[in-house]
Amino acid sequence: MKLPISIAINGQTRSLEIDTRLTLVALVREELGLTGTHVGCTTGNCGACTVLLDGDTVKSCCVLAADVDGQEITTIEAFSTGASTLHPIQQAFADNQGLQCGFCTPGMVLSTHYLLGQNPSPTEADIRHGISGNLCRCTGYQMIVDSVLDAAQRARESAPSASGAAE
């Protein structure tokens, strides 16, 4: 069955006619060509397919595309347009070697963004809890935890302080 839906993808409104069998990750990758979102398992375990749905992280392999009509989707492509414009979270991952093959990285960056939105000063334990839905086969996680700690610090330093005086 075909179904018309309208979504906001990375800030752009798109109206599409989709096959009801598509999952959200298939919509993003195959229909919209945004291949930064990865597919590791299709069973909700690995988190490589993590996107923001109305601002909340979800595993897009477990969401039907037909079910997101009228909603906002944010993928890794919204974070930067290329190597020279890395988002501070991405820069922190690069500087701390928070990736090796990079397969898990888009999902890790989205989960980090969501975690820091909820908790700007996470402890190491908070970080491990916050990224427990994202599996990494390469790094052993320590460098990812370091990257998230660094990303949090960068975000705090660049945010205006409570008194409004800082840059």
Partner: protein, 280 residues
């Protein structure tokens, strides 16, 4: 891509959903958070021809209280139960269970109704609801039924729901002022399903303990208020005679762990009662 053709409906009201469910000639599959259903569709294990999504039905997502009960709408997502003031004050074990389900992304999307209807033997709400003596509210286009949580799960991943019926609400009695409750679980790593999970509620002169993960539906034992932890553990052990084994543990291992976690849950529930309310 999911292989079979799919008719998809996303009604905005419960009444419409019930009508569509009644009208579906060969039955329809209900979609809540999709965290259990969509993986099985991706794997080709479930091949629904018609899916009715409840995700647009705002009237099914709520947490409300009456004088003696709290009522949770089926589409309430796991993360909305964590730290909710009504849940925390009157049924804190529901929040404790919600907070350990899967991971952040699963909790952002999965629902309590979907979890209970899925009836995974290791589901984390099931022992909590069984120990609390909760009630499932079930509706079809023409009827409404109330089913005790202990009768709702009839076998592994099978419930008392009839064709055309939806689980709409879970109703839990509030913990009495002198009561306490607790939820504890054994799992390999964070985010993994429990090997066993246990909930206990103490109130007045008795205590109820329910242990999931070992049997098709939670094993329930009631003991006197002054029963020793050993007696309570033994009562649960007896109640898990039909335990099953799998890759994460043999039947006998699960029974022993059911005994251990029953004791721990009861000890924590008593502590919570002594500290003036169900801390967990």
């Amino acid at each position: 891509m999911i292989s079979s053709e799919l008719a998809f409906y996303a009604p905005a009201t419960l009444a419409e959903a019930l009508e569509q469910l009644a009208a579906a000639e060969y039955g329809a599959t209900i979609l809540a958070g999709g965290m259990s259903l969509v993986p099985t569709m991706n794997l080709g294990l479930a091949r629904p021809e018609t899916v009715i999504s409840l995700n647009r039905i705002d009237e099914l997502a709520y947490i409300e209280e009456d004088a003696d009960t709290i009522r949770i709408g089926a589409m309430t997502r796991h993360r909305d139960l964590i730290g909710h003031p009504i849940v925390q004050a009157h049924c804190p074990s529901v929040a404790a269970a919600a907070s350990v389900i899967g991971d952040v992304q699963i909790r952002n999307r999965g629902t309590i109704g979907g979890s209970v209807a899925h009836a995974d033997p290791a589901g984390d709400y099931l022992p909590v609801l069984a120990a609390a003596g909760a009630t499932a509210v079930v509706r079809s286009a023409t009827s409404e039924r109330r089913i005790g949580a202990r009768e709702f799960v009839v076998d592994i991943m099978r419930t008392a729901l009839e064709p055309g019926e939806l689980l709409t609400e879970l109703e839990l009695p509030k913990l009495p002022a002198d009561g306490g409750s607790a939820f504890v679980r054994l799992a390999r790593v964070e985010g993994a399903f429990a090997i066993v999970n246990a909930a206990a509620v103490t109130s007045g002169g008795s205590a109820t303990i329910a242990v999931g993960g070992a049997t098709a539906s939670p094993a329930v034992a009631e003991v006197a208020g002054d029963a020793s932890l050993e007696e309570a553990g033994d009562a649960v052990y007896e109640a898990t005679e039909d335990a099953f084994g799998d890759l994460s543990g043999s039947a006998e291992y699960r029974r022993e762990m059911a005994r251990v976690y029953a004791r721990r849950a009861l000890a924590e529930a008593r502590d919570a009662a002594a500290n003036g309310g169900g801390a967990q």
